[in-house]
């Protein structure tokens, strides 16, 4: 059982017991996630307003994204959620090596996701699809308003990617601590709390994918 770690007590002085502390952390993280819902929510609102106003422009612009690459990337991200859930699972059991393994896999998959996004962004840049002075949406219906779709695209995926980058830094920190045996059955709160954050970022993407990549893929609107 040498791979099971039992960390020293991390009870902070202003809490009565570990139960209260863990409970407080959990509620705190969920409240934070609610603020994130409202934060992303503003962007979803802008998207909703503009898609409703310019459906043809949004459909045409959405078709400029790579559907299957996006689906593959979604798979990668969901995979990272699985590995994160397993990391939390092993943290609660104190299985040090497995914690490090699954955190590392999460890191790898998350990094892959960001790599693919970088490829997609580069592709957009090459095709002048970044809003600004040189914007053009080749062959797009209602091209004048297509820039709004891309504003939403970059705003939403950019904010999402920023959250992932922050997450990646935290994973690295968690891996370092895990290797030192910091997490075990008595205390693994940081891993669990970060897991909540990472799953939330995954959920945001679960909504972004259909909203940005799947508008009128059958060409129905163009009829």
């Amino acid at each position: 059982m040498s791979t099971v770690s039992h960390p020293a007590s991390a009870l902070q002085h202003h809490f009565e017991n570990a139960e209260q502390q863990k409970d407080a952390s959990t509620i705190g993280m969920w409240v934070f996630l609610v603020t994130e819902i409202m934060f992303f929510g503003g962007l979803f609102l802008a998207y909703m307003v503009y898609r409703q106003a310019y459906p043809a422009a949004f459909a045409a612009a959405s078709n400029k994204t790579d559907l299957w690459l996006g689906a593959a990337n979604t798979t990668v991200l969901i995979g990272s959620s699985l590995t994160m859930a397993l990391a939390v699972h092993y943290a609660s059991l104190g299985r040090k090596n497995l914690i490090v393994l699954f955190l590392s896999l999460t890191l790898l998959l998350g990094g892959t996701f960001l790599g693919v996004k970088a490829v997609e962004y580069h592709d957009k840049w090459v095709h002048h699809e970044i809003p600004g002075a040189n914007f053009e949406c080749e062959g797009c219906a209602d091209a004048q308003h297509a820039t709004l779709f891309f504003a939403c695209y970059f705003g939403m995926t950019g904010l999402h990617a920023t959250h992932m980058v922050v997450g990646i830094f935290i994973i690295i920190f968690l891996i370092v601590k895990a290797r030192k045996g910091a997490y075990g059955p008595e205390w693994h709160t940081p891993v669990e709390m970060f897991g909540l954050y990472w799953h939330f970022v995954d959920i945001v993407w679960i909504f972004l994918f259909p909203l940005l990549y799947l508008i009128d893929r059958s060409g129905g609107l163009k009829g």
């Binding site: 409240v31 802008a46 310019y54 422009a57 002075a133 004048q144």
Partner: protein, 543 residues
């Protein structure tokens, strides 16, 4: 006038236990963090006040003789930004909430002390950004940053100020988060929800608003910054962007924000009135639930800021009805406070004067809000000085009265000293009179048609404007005097003792100033809230 210092408070407490700079700058003690915020908000209040002085000086005469129009635009914008985001929003929660909530619930600290310290530094950084933009030349868009002026046409430092507000918003969010978790999970044994002081209920409701609303203004400003910095056209009509969308997103937060500014004040008033009537607040449950109702309904009315902004008439009607409804919980509080004083042993102390001031001024402000809630009247009154008078009555007459009342009420607890009652009562009265002289004429000006945000006006408006500016002078003096005697009291004030006012809350059952961990022994609550014993009452009434 006492010339010799009062006895030094020798018993170890949170103030004297560690005099090092690090002990203050890296403190995790909620009480010290509250004091740090007090210094910050006072600084920004004075800065915002200077801008107010410039406004009132310019408006002494009809001609634009003191400031150019561009400069005047910057002056009222900075006044608004500083006062709203760096003073009013943090004021009571970050200063008094931080200091008192753990004490009131019998806890040793808030749930996340390190996060609390981080909140403070985030506030400082946000404040620095805004201060920097001020030094560089300021912003001229109005504190409301309406697009496309703010995104495409303004020559001011929109980016810097916008970023500053964005950053400061996170301080507000984290404070709210901390309070919610603290109130849910850190209450002392026996302290059930309906034994909580109304100050705590008020802050719980406020925290709900901070959590649910602030992120929306954060993302809105984020979009403004993106548009201004990278020319990504979210709100630019040239690309089909909708400036009214900005207004929807901005006011979704900024209307509930005004309830962030008033709910804590109402919590303070509940405590003050109860203590100085030696009576449990009448309708405690109603007051508690009305705080929650204001927080919830406050999110449903933001469209009343968009009545003339090409929002649909149908939506305007819906928002109008909801705005009338949201006034009801506030009115409930006023009636309950009055009923609390009925047949109570009322003592007229300085905090009580501020509470009276609150009730009168907030009532006027609230009622005039109903004029504005009416679609038809708003068409005439919007963007006039009527609106300016309305929101100053509620935010200053309500918000600041509560803040000052709270400071005067809990000053003995925070610092162990009393301040000179004569001077404190005098300044309270000066503030009340100066305030009314400043802002009541503005109702009349607005009704007569004087528009806001203009540095010139027709000559027929001069009399009221001059009265208003005179009032502002008196108000300024009234605000300045407490600054002097409160600082004086820190060294020379009479020693206060644990419970100088005869208050009933847990905070009065520990020493003044409290020890680092607040209580020698964690209290166990067995009584209902606001239990005043007759012995305690007669001791404090009869001196």
């Amino acid at each position: 006038m006492i010339t010799a210092p009062s006895p030094v408070l020798t018993k170890t407490n949170y103030l004297n236990e560690d005099h090092s700079l690090k002990g203050w700058m890296l403190t995790k003690d909620h009480k010290r963090i509250g004091i740090l915020y007090l210094i910050g908000v006072t600084f920004f209040f004075m800065l915002g006040g200077m801008y107010a002085a410039l406004i009132r000086l310019e408006l002494l005469t009809p001609a634009g003789d003191l400031l150019e129009s561009n400069t005047y635009n910057k002056v009222f914008t900075m006044h608004g930004v500083l006062m709203v985001f760096l003073f009013l929003i943090p004021s009571i929660p970050a200063v008094l909430g931080n200091f008192l909530i753990p004490l009131m619930i019998g806890a040793k600290d808030v749930a996340f002390p390190r996060l609390n310290l981080l909140s403070y530094y985030i506030y400082v950084v946000g404040g620095l950004f805004i201060f920097t933009s001020l030094i560089l030349g300021g912003v001229d868009t109005g504190w409301t940053f309406y697009t496309p002026f703010s995104t495409s046409y303004s020559n001011g430092y929109v980016l810097t100020t916008g970023l500053g507000i964005f950053i400061a918003g996170f301080s507000s969010i984290l404070t709210g988060l901390n309070f919610i978790v603290t109130i849910h999970r850190m209450r002392a044994p026996g302290l059930t929800w309906f034994r909580l002081p109304l100050f705590v209920w008020a802050h719980y409701a406020t925290s709900m608003i901070q959590i649910l609303g602030t992120p929306v203004v954060a993302v809105t400003l984020f979009l403004v910054v993106l548009e201004r910095g990278l020319h990504i056209g979210f709100f630019d009509p040239a690309y089909g962007g909708d400036p009214v969308l900005f207004q929807h997103m901005f006011w979704f937060y900024s209307h509930p924000a005004v309830y962030i500014m008033i709910l804590p004040s109402m919590g303070v008033v509940s405590e003050i009135i109860s203590t100085f009537s030696s009576k449990k607040p009448f309708g405690y449950t109603f007051i508690a639930f009305s705080s929650l109702a204001i927080a919830v309904f406050g999110f449903l009315v933001w469209g009343h800021h968009l009545y003339v902004a090409s929002q649909s008439v149908y939506a305007g009607m819906v928002f109008s009805i909801l705005t009338y409804i949201v006034a009801i919980p506030s009115a409930i509080k006023i009636f309950n406070w009055i009923a609390t004083m009925y047949k109570g042993s009322v003592r007229i102390t300085t905090p009580m004067l501020y509470a009276f001031g609150f009730m009168g001024l907030f009532t006027v402000g609230g009622l005039t809000g109903l004029f504005l809630a009416s679609l038809g009247m708003d068409v005439h009154l919007t963007d006039t000085y009527f609106v300016v008078a309305h929101f100053h009555y509620v935010m200053v007459g309500g918000g600041i009265m509560g803040f000052l009342g709270g400071i005067h009420f809990w000053w003995p607890k925070m610092f162990g000293r009393m301040y000179p009652e004569g001077w404190s009562k005098l300044s309270a009265i000066m503030i009340f009179c100066g305030f009314n002289l400043t802002f009541f004429p503005q109702f009349l000006l607005g009704y007569m048609g004087m528009p806001r945000r203009y540095h010139v006006y027709p000559a027929e408006f001069q009399v009221f404007n001059t009265l208003s500016s005179a009032g502002a002078g008196l108000l300024g003096v009234g605000y300045f005097i407490p600054f002097i005697y409160l600082l004086w009291s820190l060294k020379y004030g009479r020693v206060a003792g644990d419970n100088p006012w005869g208050g009933s809350g847990l905070e009065w059952k520990t020493s003044s100033p409290p020890i680092h961990s607040n209580f020698e022994v964690t209290p166990v609550v067995t009584q209902e809230a606001y239990t005043y014993t007759t012995e305690e009452v007669s001791h404090h009434v009869n001196g």
